[in-house]
């Protein structure tokens, strides 16, 4: 299903630009809905169909994000969260069920806040050790759980609805 040749062609570079553009446009369009996003959906689809080459998309996407919105703690979180998503997607790349990927996206959305709180753990840890790290990260994660559930539901629905039609289009053109 994915293209695993290691060399980047001109076409690949153009495609990477297009992938980032697609993610950014969707992000901008959905920005009025908190924690509802298509970035997860697209990164999963791109990993499934572009294989290892998506590893060039992620850092470029993160850099573009930082350039647009400014680099803050959220940007540090992006440095490990999106590569982690791509990595885990790569492990399950043979799966083709829409329901499987919907569940996968849902779990990722649900755990997003917990993954983000790792950054806060280290912020707290740097000033007061493990206890301070925990006391910084845990309440931050807890206070956002309701939004993580929104994230989970949004991811689940988007993947369930869009997986098959987008997969068919990608299969036809790639």
């Amino acid at each position: 299903m994915c293209d695993n040749s290691s060399r980047f062609s001109t076409r690949d570079i153009a495609m990477i630009g297009l992938m980032i553009a697609v993610i950014e446009v969707c992000k901008a369009v959905l920005s009025f809905l908190p924690n509802v996003e298509l970035t997860t959906f697209w990164l999963i689809m791109f990993t499934l169909y572009f294989g290892r080459k998506v590893m060039a998309v992620v850092p470029a996407f993160i850099l573009v994000e930082g350039a647009i919105y400014g680099m803050n703690t959220w940007w540090i979180m992006y440095l490990y969260i999106w590569p982690l998503l791509v990595l885990v997607t790569w492990i399950f790349r043979k799966e083709e069920s829409a329901l499987f990927w919907a569940i996968f996206s849902g779990i990722f959305g649900l755990c997003f806040g917990m993954l983000c709180s790792i950054t806060y753990f280290f912020i707290g840890f740097s000033s007061g050790g493990i206890t301070a790290g925990f006391n910084t990260a845990f309440p931050w994660w807890i206070s956002g759980i309701m939004w993580d559930i929104v994230h989970c539901v949004g991811n689940f629905i988007f993947m369930l609805v869009l997986y098959t039609p987008i997969r068919n289009v990608m299969k036809r053109f790639l």
Binding site: E96, I103, S143, C152
Partner: protein, 140 residues
């Protein structure tokens, strides 16, 4: 292959449901909850016939109007309204009983701990332990 995939979906679904349950439990147990207002006051209404109704209110409101707004929201038996003027709200109706000086020859007087109040409802500070009494008073 099909069987394997179904198994993975099932495992995934169980993990998702379990995570939602655990996260929801954590949220209920550890999320910061709003606490009852720090100031405990009594708002009392004495109607035209001298009948008194007391309301215990816990509030963080700075001024009496804020505390009365909170009470009206939480207790259907209490309501008030009035006219906005240069000195804030002029209370005209409490619990459905109107006291407009020009029409009824009566007014709602505000007492703070039994003493005639010096401020309107909008400017009356709320102090822990105080009793604010609205009394229907006919003009002599």
């Amino acid at each position: 292959m099909e069987k394997k995939s179904t198994k993975k979906i099932l495992i995934g679904a169980v993990i998702l449901v379990a995570l939602i349950a655990v996260f929801a439990l954590c949220y209920n147990k550890f999320a910061a909850k709003g606490t009852a207002g720090a100031k405990a006051i009594v708002i009392e209404v004495v109607d035209e016939n001298g009948n008194s109704t007391k309301y215990d209110v816990n509030t963080d409101a700075e001024y009496l109007k804020g505390a009365m707004d909170e009470l009206a929201e939480s207790d259907d038996s209490f309501s008030f309204s009035g006219q906005e003027g240069d000195y804030g709200l002029m209370v005209e109706v409490i619990n459905g009983e109107q006291a407009i000086y020009a029409e009824d020859n009566a007014y709602w007087a505000l007492y703070v701990n039994g003493e005639y109040g010096n401020y309107g409802v909008t400017e009356q500070p709320v102090v822990d332990g105080d009793t604010y009494t609205w009394t229907y008073e006919s003009a002599e």
